[in-house]
Amino acid sequence: MRGHYKEFDVLRSFVKWDERTQRLIKDRMASGEKVVFFSEQEQELLLAVLEVVLAEKDEKLLKRVAAYIGDSLGNGHGKGYRDAALPDEKDLFRKGLQGIVDTAHELYQGRDFSKLTLEEKIAVIESLKSGQGRGITWQSIDSKKFFKELLTAAVSSFYSQPEIWSEIGYAGPAYPRGYVRVELGGQDPWEARKND
């Protein structure tokens, strides 16, 4: 464990949450068991990309993020808008993942993304991020816009995981009890305590 709150585990408050929220978080923690929307190869590639983007080795967390992204794409429940210059979300993610394959092949003599070293993987991500992604996919799709979509979806799910709430010292769901000490320096007994 790293960070300011090594002793903190937000799940110690689990029993204090309302039942619906308990069920939601329990389901979320179990959600990585299923592969949703993506093919097996796409899933494998997505996990390899998420490992770099989120700097996270724990596969069970990465699988939950992949499941969230897959579920958002597969159930047709979008976020309510999209850049008029981008294809629809399903297409964007399918093509974008293919684009990552292409970029890795272009930069590293036909090698697959998942076979690259961390530094090489980062170079592929940097290529996307620059908006000048190498490879044929990025002639029709702005690689930077795709990367932004992927990144925001990934962090939205990742920072909704209780393990990560514990890491950053976020006290999590707070219904029905709320907070009593909200002022500067104030702290309720169940909130994260700084390392000594």
Binding site: L24, V52, G78, K129, L184
Partner: protein, 528 residues
């Protein structure tokens, strides 16, 4: 509700006196007032009727989806507007289910921007026209506020005392203001500080933007929509209006979808309260030979002059814990930069709010804006509890080039053309943003914070069916009545002439109350 049940309800209802499209704050007020006056009111709401206590959860990811309008909109322009949860509600209650509940009155100068500055347009109403309605709304929803609010024209008193204590995010903001001799105040909020009308006070859980489960925060869902139903209004959830039907120059009713089937509701008067995107979209989709460019659009102004607020977020890191997740997101503000200052070289101004945040909004904003990822992202978020945030609400001037139109190809699940939303800031807007960010940075630094991130964002939507006295350049009159179709009203923030630097909901509610009074008078006199 099954289609069969729905059909039996429709048979009983016959012709409505009023069909209101949209059960947000304005539609719900109109439904309450008109049904209490004895009229037969039917409200068509595209989204569900939710029960906060048994259906909502305490979670960003889940609620940001559940409360937002998630049907597709295409965004374009130099500064495309983030839609969805950012500014668009769905379900009975509309945007008030997830708004921050900042409840400000506009200033007299807001209504006279053209006369005073030579830009934008004047409103056809004054502050004085809305004053009694502001007071009425503040009482109905239980606004809490300071004993003395420092800025003109309204110093209080508010129906309920200010929130106490303020959270750390508000405290450091106020400290920075104090050291720079900037006035600040606890924000007037539609969030209870004491029990009121069978609703409990706020517990500071901080999930205002994810739906208030305890009912401490006002929403149309738990107030006007319920009062309307109590008075006999027929509020129909999951009913998506697709077309306003006109014959012989008058509206005769509304077609809508419910569970895949299309229905027609006959009505003597149609009121659109579907907000800034869906109202013009419905008018466009209702085109006829007599109204080829959309209903109520002889002026050509339907869909034009779309305005968000600029709402840039300034994040600073402090050397002590802030814990930004606690308390109502906005608890303090300054309006010292609201009015035009001749020294600035631009018209109008901005306000600054203290603005708490939970992890998903924090990380998706910063990662999304700076494209920070990997170890750098993980390291910065370890300091989540050491960050505070203040946020600009900047006036955006109307510009006909910023608009809502229909896409020529894409259709939604109802077979209706998808809206396109085009927006680019103008030079005055950008000058306000620059100055606003500069002030935000000054305040954070004065409070001993180190400014780390400034994230471009917007809040609220206004314009697209503006009110005015001249039918040549406005869509509705001062009472929200269409210039072109006498029994068609539009009552949502689309009628706003300018955006002002203030959060719009309280003013919308005052306009809805005033419109309801007018409709009752006109209907009694048989003038509708």
């Amino acid at each position: 509700m099954t289609n069969k049940e729905h059909e039996s309800i429709i048979k009983e209802a016959k012709e409505a006196d009023f069909c209101i499209v949209g059960a947000g704050p304005a539609g719900s007020i109109l439904a309450k007032e008109l049904s209490e006056a004895g009229y037969l009111v039917v409200v068509l709401e595209a989204g569900p009727l939710m029960d906060p206590q048994s259906e909502w959860v305490s979670d960003e990811l889940e609620m940001n989806k559940q409360l937002a309008w998630t049907d597709l909109r295409l965004i374009e322009g130099k500064d495309p507007i983030k839609m969805g949860h950012n500014n668009s509600g769905r379900g009975v209650g509309g945007g008030t289910n997830h708004f921050s509940a900042v409840s400000l009155r506009f200033h007299p100068s807001d209504f006279k921007v053209k006369s005073n500055e030579g830009v934008a347009e004047d409103w056809p109403i004054d502050y004085e026209d809305l004053e009694p309605y502001y007071s009425k709304v503040e009482r109905e929803i239980g606004v809490s506020g300071p004993k003395y609010f420092p800025w003109e024209p309204f110093h209080g008193p508010y129906p309920l005392p200010e929130r106490n204590p303020l959270n750390a995010v508000a405290e450091v903001f106020r400290l920075g203001c104090e050291r720079l001799a900037i006035r600040s105040s606890p924000a007037p909020l539609a969030i209870l500080s004491a029990p009121y009308n069978d609703r409990p006070p706020c517990t500071n859980r901080g999930f205002c933007n994810q739906g208030c489960i305890p009912n401490a925060k006002y929403s149309a869902l738990i107030t006007h929509a319920r009062w309307a139903a109590d008075a006999g209004a027929d509020i129909r959830p999951n009913c998506m209006a697709s077309r306003v039907i006109v014959s012989k120059g008058r509206a005769s009713g509304v077609e809508y979808f419910h569970q895949g089937q299309e229905y027609f509701l006959k009505a003597k008067v149609v009121i659109l309260s579907a907000s800034v995107v869906e109202t013009p979209r419905l008018l466009f989709n209702s085109s006829t030979a007599q109204f080829p460019d959309g209903l109520a659009n002889n002026s050509g102004m339907v869909g034009k002059n779309l305005m968000p607020h600029s709402s840039h977020d300034v994040y600073a890191r402090f050397n002590k814990e802030i814990r930004p997740y606690k308390g109502t997101p906005v608890m303090a503000l300054t309006m010292d930069f609201y009015e035009t200052d001749p020294k600035n070289g631009f018209a109008r101004g901005f306000i600054i709010n203290s603005h708490g945040f939970r992890p998903v909004s924090f990380v998706s904003q910063i990662a999304g804006h700076y494209l920070i990822y990997g170890e750098e992202l993980r390291n910065l978020t370890l300091d989540y509890n050491y960050y505070s945030r203040i946020t600009l609400i900047g006036e955006v001037l109307p510009d006909v080039k910023n608009c809502v139109t229909l896409d020529g190809n894409l259709k939604d699940q109802y077979g209706l053309p998808v809206p396109r939303i085009s927006f680019s800031y103008g030079p005055n807007d950008l000058a306000i943003i620059d100055k606003g960010i500069e002030k935000c940075k000054d305040i954070m630094e004065a409070a001993d914070g180190r400014v780390e991130y400034v994230v471009a964002d917007t809040a609220h939507l206004m314009g697209t069916c503006r009110m005015g006295n001249d039918p040549q350049n406005s869509v509705v009159n001062e009472f929200c009545r269409s210039h072109d179709i006498p029994n068609l009203f539009i009552c949502d923030t689309s009628v706003f002439v300018t955006s002002t630097p203030a959060n719009p909901t309280l003013t919308l509610m005052a306009i809805a109350q005033r419109t309801a009074d007018y409709i009752k008078r006109a209907a009694a006199a048989r003038e509708i």
